[in-house]
């Protein structure tokens, strides 16, 4: 317990959460064409609590975004904040995804 002084990184935090990934089904998909044509605000990158949305050219370089659903906590923030409807958001199939135990 003495080691708890050093804050955990987001990756370490996400490792604590049990997630059963459905490798055959991405429950969220973004449409890069819509993003490219319309997006100037990148609300998904700022809103996501699990850093599933990242700028391709590094953390500070606002621009094209890549998305990976694997660490998704299924909160739905990206669906609501995207003003362009580029986020096609569905829940994971039954039994897949996050499984909280202490929340």
């Amino acid at each position: 317990m003495s080691k708890s002084n050093k804050p955990k990184t987001l990756e370490e935090k996400l490792d604590l959460t049990k997630i059963t990934t459905d490798h055959n089904y991405a429950h969220i998909e973004i449409n890069p064409e819509i993003c490219k044509a319309k997006c100037t605000t990148y609300d998904c990158v700022y809103g996501c609590p699990a850093d599933c949305y990242k700028f391709i050219e590094g953390e500070e370089a606002e621009g094209p975004v890549v998305f990976d659903y694997v660490a998704c906590l299924e909160c739905g923030t990206c669906r609501l904040v995207c003003p362009h409807g580029s986020v096609d958001w569905k829940y994971p199939k039954g039994g897949f995804g996050v499984e909280f135990k202490h929340s």
Partner: protein
């Protein structure tokens, strides 16, 4: 209608709202099925506050006799204002809240929701976990069931208890996609803290608990931190208005980490080991931004119905979920007797809901959500008050002035008087 139905009522979502409805229906002998996408009830759920004892007691009489039902009953409530290096806390120690059915209790949702679901099952409801409802089944303009994968399940009434991120409410044409400014993102961490240590830290006796709301130091984003004690874990989190968060171009997890850097928070979490990270969204639009609560063949309950109150001192969700679920169950029993499941009959739910404390609270505080969008509440006010205390308490060798004189002088010096006045008027009008 000559439709063949598999069940009288199909409920989507086995959280508190859905289970409360199921329990009410099953007790009355209604054939009820609950479809839950999680591995079990509560597996997808995150909560940030307390449950009202009296409400739970109404649903499950003498719930406290079962050790598994709750974590701790709340006897201490703290409200803290944070600024850069300071904090001011109001500490309400209400030991007389230690009487059953208890004023408020803390729960761990994966545990509590499962416990509640067991009660509904015992009463005769069928609960199907691992079942994702993707869509509704329509006949003309009437909802007559739900779809999960290839399977269709027909029911006279569908109750949507899908939670805050309700896609089915939109599919049922009861609401459009909500605006981010009417929603908040809650991030939460659960920490292991040995029972003895926790009780020493917070001056709690066995089973007594504390909750702490924390305002300020959130980069000026409306919202706030929360902290409460479970049996041998503590739940800590930060709630941020989604619209403002993204407009400020601040990353949610980073705002959370920086919030934790405040010495007040560090002390709360000292020597505790993080065991889980979770996140969830919270409807905060209040009374004015609730979806339509009923339609042909359908009722909406809990978070899906936007039944969450954020009025600063009170942040309610689960209690409204339990209450709206129960009322939907009661209404459904009556609706089923009429053999007519159209809007004409389902509106009975809203009529009954209007009489409930949940709906009335939402109405009473209908201006609160707009008021709490005022950013001054989250920056200027905590700065002002913590600064004022510092000024009043600092010993600098000069003779002291009267407290009132010092206070007025300080407030004048900090400026923004007009804004503060507007804020006070807003508070009086909305809270």
């Amino acid at each position: 209608m000559s439709e063949e139905f598999d069940f009288d009522v199909a409920i989507v979502g086995a959280g508190p709202a859905g289970i409360s409805a199921a329990l009410t229906l099953a007790k009355a002998g209604i054939e009820t099925v609950v479809l839950e996408r999680g591995q079990y009830s509560g597996a997808k759920n995150v909560s940030g506050a307390a449950l009202y004892g009296p409400i739970l007691n109404e649903l499950i009489p003498n719930y406290w006799e079962d050790e598994n039902s709750f974590e701790r009953y709340l006897t201490t409530k703290k409200i803290t204002l944070l600024s850069e290096s300071k904090s001011v806390t109001i500490d309400a120690d209400l030991r007389n809240f230690n009487q059953v059915p208890y004023n408020g209790v803390t729960v761990i949702r994966p545990k509590f929701d499962r416990w509640l679901a067991d009660k509904a099952e015992e009463a005769g409801a069928m609960i199907l976990p691992d079942t994702m409802v993707e869509d509704l089944v329509w006949k003309d303009k009437q909802i007559i069931g739900v779809k999960s994968g290839e399977e269709v399940l027909k029911a006279k009434l569908v109750i949507i208890a899908e939670g805050a991120n309700s896609i089915l409410v939109e599919k049922a044409k009861l609401a459009k996609k909500p605006k981010p400014r009417h929603f908040a993102l809650g991030m939460k961490e659960t920490y292991k803290l040995p029972k003895k240590k926790m009780e020493e830290r917070f001056h709690l006796d066995d089973k007594e608990g504390l909750s702490n709301e924390i305002l300020g130091y959130s980069k000026g984003i409306p919202g706030g931190g929360f902290y409460y004690t479970n049996q041998d874990t503590v739940s800590f989190g930060l709630i941020l208005n989604m619209g403002v968060l993204t407009k400020k171009k601040l990353k949610a997890p980073e705002v959370f980490e920086e919030f934790k850097e405040h010495s007040y928070i560090k002390k709360l979490l000292k020597d505790a080991e993080m065991i889980e990270y979770s996140a969830h969204i919270i409807p905060e639009g209040g009374f004015k931004h609730m979806p339509k609560l009923y339609g042909n063949g359908v009722l909406v309950v809990g978070d899906a119905a936007g039944m969450v109150l954020n009025a600063g001192l009170y942040i309610e969700g689960i209690n409204f979920a339990l209450e709206s679920g129960k009322i939907a169950g009661e209404a459904a029993i009556e609706i089923l007797q009429t053999n007519n499941y159209t809007k004409k009959q389902t509106r009975l739910y809203k009529k009954k809901l209007k009489e409930s404390f949940a709906y009335k609270d939402l109405k009473t505080f209908k201006r609160a959500s707009h008021f709490l969008e005022n950013k001054m509440m989250f920056t200027y006010v905590p700065d002002l008050l913590t600064g004022l205390f510092e000024k009043l308490l600092r010993n600098n060798g000069y003779p002291r002035k009267r407290i009132v004189t010092s206070a007025i002088g300080y407030v004048f010096k900090k400026g923004k008087l007009f804004g503060l006045l507007k804020l006070l008027i807003g508070a009086v009008r909305s809270l």
